[in-house]
C-alpha cells in the first residue's frame, strides 16, 4: 500500500485542512507583523493572553453568541443547497424586531418578554428569507441577487425605524432607546462583579448551545432534514421521489432566516442593548458565512468556529496595546477563509485521484 501523500491527507480530512488554513492565516499575519517591525511573539502573546483569562474568556463567549447562531443560519442553508448571503439583512431585521417589541412592551415580565422578543426576531428574519424564496420559486429570481438587495433594504429600514419618535432615543444619540431591562439577558450585576466576568456577561450562550443541538437534530434526524438535504443535493431526484422542491426551498430559507434573525436578537439582548443608526453594514451575517465555512457547515463545527471567531474579534481588539493594528485580525480571517475556500482546488485534485478509486469500485462490482 502506497503511503498517503500530504495532499491526500489534506483533501480527505476536512479537519486537518481547516486547521492548516488557520495556521496559514496566522503565518501570513506574522509576516505582516514582521514587515511592520513588530514583535510577532508579543502580538500573538497578547492575543492569546487576552482570551484565556477568565474575564477575557467570558468576553469571548459573549462575542461568540451572535456569530455562532448566524453561522448556524448560513450552515443550514449550505446543507439545503441555497446560499443564504442574506443573513446580514435577516440579522438586522431580527434585531430590530426584538428591539421594537421590547421598547413598545417594556413592562411585560421577563419570562414573557424575552421569548416574545426572540419570536419577533425569528419571524422577522424568517420573513426576510421567505420573501426571497418566494421570488426565487415563483419568479425564478436568483436568490443571491435579491438577498444582497434585501440586505440593503434591511439596513435602511432599520435606520428608518431607529428614527421614529417613540423608538428613537430621546437623548442626542442616533440610536433607538435602550431595550427594557426585562428584555435583557445579562447575568445579575452582583454575580458578574463577584465572579469577575465581563460586564456584558449573559446567558445567550445557552441559547446558542440549544440551537446548535436543535439544528443538528433537524439536519440529521428528521424527515424534514432528509427532504431539505435531498433537494439541496439533487433537486431533480428529490422531485422525482415526490418531494415538493419549492416548498423545501421556502422552508430552508425560512429556517435559515429565522436563525439569523434570532442571532440579531441575541446580540441586542446580550451585549448591544440598543440599535444605533448604521453608517455601514455591520457584518454579523457576513461573519456567519465565514463561521459556517470554518465550521464546515457541521452544527458542532460551527459552534467551535463561532467561539474561535469571537476570540479573534475580542483578542484582536486588544492588539493595539502592542502597537499592532486591529485590522490585522481581518488579514488573518481573510487568509483563513481564502485557504478554506480554495478547498475547491483540493477537491478537484482529489477528484482526479478519486477516478482511480472509481476504477477500483468498478472492479469490485
Amino acid at each position: 500500500m502506497k503511503k498517503k501523500s500530504f495532499l491526500d491527507i489534506v483533501s480527505e480530512n476536512t479537519f486537518i485542512h481547516i486547521l492548516l488554513s488557520i495556521i496559514l492565516g496566522f503565518l501570513i499575519g506574522a509576516i505582516f507583523l514582521a514587515v511592520m517591525g513588530l514583535s510577532v511573539g508579543n502580538a500573538y502573546g497578547r492575543l492569546i493572553n487576552s482570551v484565556t483569562s477568565l474575564k477575557g474568556f467570558s468576553y469571548v463567549v459573549v462575542y461568540s453568541v451572535p456569530y455562532i447562531v448566524a453561522g448556524l443560519s448560513v450552515a443550514f442553508s449550505f446543507k439545503t443547497g441555497v446560499f443564504n448571503i442574506g443573513a446580514e439583512g435577516q440579522f438586522v431585521v431580527g434585531a430590530m424586531g426584538a428591539a421594537v417589541t421590547s421598547i413598545l412592551l417594556p413592562d411585560l415580565p421577563k419570562p414573557v418578554l424575552i421569548p416574545l422578543c426572540f419570536a419577533a426576531a425569528i419571524v422577522m428574519g424568517a420573513l426576510w428569507g421567505i420573501i426571497v424564496a418566494i421570488l426565487k420559486t415563483k419568479r425564478g429570481i436568483n436568490e443571491v441577487l435579491s438577498m444582497i438587495m434585501f440586505n440593503w433594504i434591511a439596513f435602511y429600514l432599520s435606520n428608518f425605524i431607529a428614527g421614529i419618535p417613540g423608538i428613537k432615543n430621546e437623548g442626542s444619540a442616533e440610536a433607538t432607546k435602550s431595550i427594557s431591562a426585562n428584555a435583557s439577558m445579562l447575568l445579575p450585576k452582583d454575580f458578574i462583579k463577584s465572579a469577575g466576568l465581563a460586564p456584558t456577561a449573559n446567558w445567550g450562550i445557552l441559547v446558542a448551545i440549544l440551537i446548535t443541538a436543535l439544528i443538528w437534530i433537524v439536519i440529521e434526524k428528521t424527515t424534514l432534514g432528509y427532504e431539505l438535504k435531498a433537494v439541496g443535493s439533487n433537486k431533480f431526484a428529490a422531485e422525482y421521489g415526490g418531494i415538493n422542491v419549492n416548498r423545501s426551498i421556502l422552508t430552508a430559507l425560512g429556517i435559515s432566516g429565522g436563525m439569523a434573525g434570532l442571532a440579531g436578537a441575541l446580540y441586542l439582548m446580550g451585549m448591544g442593548n440598543r440599535i444605533s443608526v448604521f453608517s455601514s453594514q455591520e457584518g454579523f451575517g457576513f461573519a456567519g458565512i465565514v463561521v459556517a465555512l470554518i465550521g464546515c457547515s457541521n452544527p458542532f463545527g460551527v459552534f467551535v468556529a463561532g467561539l474561535f471567531y469571537g476570540a479573534l474579534m475580542y483578542g484582536g481588539s486588544k492588539l493595539n496595546l502592542e502597537g499592532a493594528p486591529t485590522q490585522l485580525i481581518n488579514v488573518i480571517v481573510g487568509t483563513v477563509v481564502f485557504f478554506i475556500a480554495i478547498s475547491v482546488i483540493f477537491r478537484n485534485l482529489k477528484y482526479l485521484k478519486r477516478k482511480t478509486g472509481k476504477g477500483k469500485e468498478a472492479m469490485k462490482a
Binding site: K221, S233, A237, K358, K360, A365
Partner: protein, 512 residues
C-alpha cells in the same frame, strides 16, 4: 469486413504489459493493446473488468503501476488529460462531462474557445460547431442548453467535443448506449468516415452486435486479465460473449404465457410540448393491462421522453387524460402519481434516480422516508433504515456488500441501477415505468434487470417499457407500441415483431 483502410504497418497506440494496482488490488494485470492507424479496435469486457481503468491510463487520468504506453511509436508518460489531448487522444466518457446550464456550442468549445480580443467569439464558435456537426452528420441544436436536450443529443455533443479538439485517436466509452438503432447505424457510418480519414477509434462496449458491425479487431479483458485479441471477422457473437464472461450466455428471456388483467394505465388523446414549447405529443393513446409489458419502440425525439415525464409528474401536458386504475394522474405531482400506483426507473439514473451524495440506505427510502417504519413522528428511524438497506443489498446483489452507508455516487453504474431497481420493485406499485433500464450495463447485469422486470409482470403488475434498445423491446414486450411523431402509430404483439418492420414503422413508414 475489409481492412484496407487499416494501415497495419503503423501502430498509433501501443500499451505494453500494463499493470495497474490499487493497494493490493490488481485492476489491470498485464494488458496489451495495439491500435493501428485507421483501425476501429473494440475493447470488450464486463462491468468492472478493467476496461475503464485501462482507458483512463491511456487518457492520462491514471498512471500505470508498470508497463509502457507508446503513441506513434514514441514512449510517453501522461500526467493528465491535457497531455493526452496534446498527444492527439480524445475521450468520450460514458457519463457525460457537460456543463448543464451552458449551450451545446459553449460546451463544445469550452477550454478551446475562439477568441476575439479578450472575449469569446461565440459567432465563430457557433459556426465552427455547425460545420463540424454537418461534416460528421451529428445533428445538434447549437443553441440549446444541455439541461434541455435529450440524452441522445448530449452524447452527440460529447463526440463533437472530442472531434473539436482535433483528436486523431478517439476513445469512445459506450458511445451507443443512448442511441436509437438508426442513430447507431449513423454513428457506425461516422466512425468509418473517421477511420477513412486516417483517424483511429477505440470502442469500449459490451454490445457484441456493434462490435461485429463496426470493429476490425477486438481485445477481450476479463477480471483485469488480458484474454485475447481477435480479428472480428473470424469470430461470432457467441464466441465473443463466452470469452467475455468465461461461460455460456443465454440471450433469451424466459417468460411464462401472458395472463392479461384489467387496464391499469390508460392514456387518452395526450398532447404535450417539449422543452422549446413545440408540440411533440399529438394525441397519443396508450393502454397497459395488468400482467403485461408494453414496450414503446421509437426513435429518440418522437415524444417518448415527454410521455414519461408527463406520466411521472415532471411535466405538464397541454391536453388529454391519463389514468391509473381509473384515477387521473394527469398533471399531478410526482408524489400524487406515486401514491396512486406509479413507480418508475428513470432514464437518467444520476439525475432523477439517485441523490448521489446520499448513502445507499437513504436512497433506498427516497419515496418512503416519511413512512413507518423508516420514520415515526417525523424522526428518522436509523435502525429500520439500515435493516432495510442490508436486506436490499443482499436480495438485489448490490456490490460491494456492506455498503449501506456509502454514498451512491461511489458505486458502479450497474450497481447504481440495482439500487433504483431494488427501490422501485419493492415499492411494488401497480404500474412500473422503466426507461432505458439497462443503459450502459453489461450482459450479466442486463440479464438481472430483465429478470426483475419480467418478475413484476408475472406478479400481475403493468409494465411500460421505454427503450432505445430494439433487442430489449423485442425480447421483453408482450405488446410493442411504435411511437412516431407524437402518436402510437402501430401496435404489434411481442412475439410477431420483426426488426426490419419495426425499424420501418419507427421511421414513419407504413406497415407492409
Amino acid at each position: 469486413m475489409s481492412k484496407e483502410h487499416v494501415d497495419m504497418s503503423v501502430p498509433v497506440i501501443e500499451m505494453r504489459n500494463i499493470v495497474k494496482k490499487f493497494g493490493d488490488f490488481v485492476a489491470n494485470d498485464g494488458i496489451n493493446l495495439t491500435v493501428h492507424k485507421g483501425e476501429i479496435h473494440a475493447i470488450l469486457g464486463e462491468n468492472g473488468a478493467g476496461k475503464s481503468t485501462l482507458m483512463n491510463q491511456l487518457y492520462g487520468l491514471l498512471k500505470p503501476t508498470s508497463g509502457d504506453i507508446l503513441v506513434n511509436g514514441k514512449k510517453i508518460v501522461m500526467n493528465n488529460p491535457r497531455d493526452a489531448i496534446n498527444a492527439g487522444i480524445g475521450m468520450v466518457h460514458q457519463h457525460f462531462m457537460l456543463v448543464q446550464p451552458f449551450t451545446v456550442t459553449e460546451n463544445i468549445v469550452l477550454g478551446s474557445e475562439p477568441m476575439k480580443g479578450l472575449t469569446v467569439d461565440m459567432k465563430k464558435a457557433r459556426q465552427n460547431v455547425k460545420e463540424l456537426s454537418e461534416r460528421y452528420g451529428l445533428a445538434i441544436d447549437p443553441d440549446a442548453k444541455i439541461e434541455d436536450i435529450s440524452v441522445g443529443m448530449q452524447q452527440r455533443v460529447e463526440i463533437l467535443k472530442a472531434l473539436y479538439r482535433g483528436a486523431d485517436i478517439l476513445i469512445l466509452d459506450e458511445p451507443t448506449s443512448s442511441l436509437t438503432p438508426q442513430e447507431i447505424v449513423e454513428l457506425i457510418q461516422i466512425m468509418h468516415n473517421l477511420t477513412g480519414d486516417g483517424k483511429s477509434i477505440i470502442l469500449i462496449t459490451h454490445k457484441l452486435k456493434e462490435i461485429k458491425e463496426s470493429a476490425d479487431f477486438c481485445t477481450i479483458i476479463r477480471m483485469g486479465k488480458y484474454i485475447d485479441t481477435v480479428d472480428v471477422d473470424q469470430v461470432d457473437e457467441n464466441d465473443l460473449a463466452s470469452m467475455m464472461v468465461g461461460r455460456k450466455v443465454t440471450f433469451q428471456v424466459d417468460k411464462p404465457p401472458i395472463k392479461r388483467g384489467p387496464v391499469v394505465l390508460d392514456v387518452k388523446n395526450l398532447h404535450g410540448v417539449d422543452y422549446r414549447g413545440v408540440e411533440i405529443l399529438k394525441g397519443l393513446n396508450l393502454q397497459v393491462h395488468a400482467g403485461e409489458i408494453v414496450g414503446i419502440a421509437g426513435i429518440d425525439g418522437n415524444g417518448q421522453t415527454e410521455l414519461v415525464e408527463i406520466l411521472t409528474g415532471l411535466r405538464k401536458g397541454t391536453a388529454g387524460e391519463a389514468t391509473v386504475n381509473g384515477v387521473s394522474i394527469y398533471n399531478k405531482s410526482p408524489a400524487f402519481g406515486f401514491a396512486h400506483g406509479v413507480s418508475s426507473i428513470p432514464a437518467d439514473r444520476q439525475k432523477h434516480g439517485l441523490v448521489l451524495d446520499f448513502s445507499i440506505e437513504d436512497n433506498l427510502i427516497l419515496q418512503n422516508y416519511e413512512k413507518d417504519p423508516f420514520a415515526r413522528s417525523k424522526i428518522l428511524q436509523r435502525d429500520a433504515i439500515l435493516k432495510h438497506a442490508t436486506q436490499s443489498i443482499s436480495d438485489y446483489d448490490i456490490r460491494p456488500g456492506n455498503s449501506e452507508k456509502r454514498p451512491a455516487g461511489t458505486l458502479s453504474g450497474g450497481n447504481q441501477q440495482k439500487v433504483i431497481i431494488a427501490r422501485e420493485v419493492q415499492n411494488d406499485k401497480d404500474l412500473l415505468i422503466a426507461v432505458n433500464p439497462t443503459r450502459g450495463l453489461d450482459v450479466g447485469a442486463i440479464e438481472y434487470v430483465h429478470q426483475y422486470i419480467v418478475q413484476q409482470r408475472n406478479k400481475g403488475k403493468a409494465v411500460l417499457l421505454v427503450s432505445f434498445e430494439l433487442d430489449e423491446i423485442m425480447s421483453l414486450s408482450d405488446v410493442i407500441d411504435v411511437i412516431f411523431d407524437g402518436k402510437i402509430v402501430s401496435s404489434i404483439p411481442g412475439g410477431q415483431a420483426d426488426e426490419n418492420e419495426l425499424g420501418l414503422l419507427m421511421a414513419g413508414g407504413k406497415p407492409a
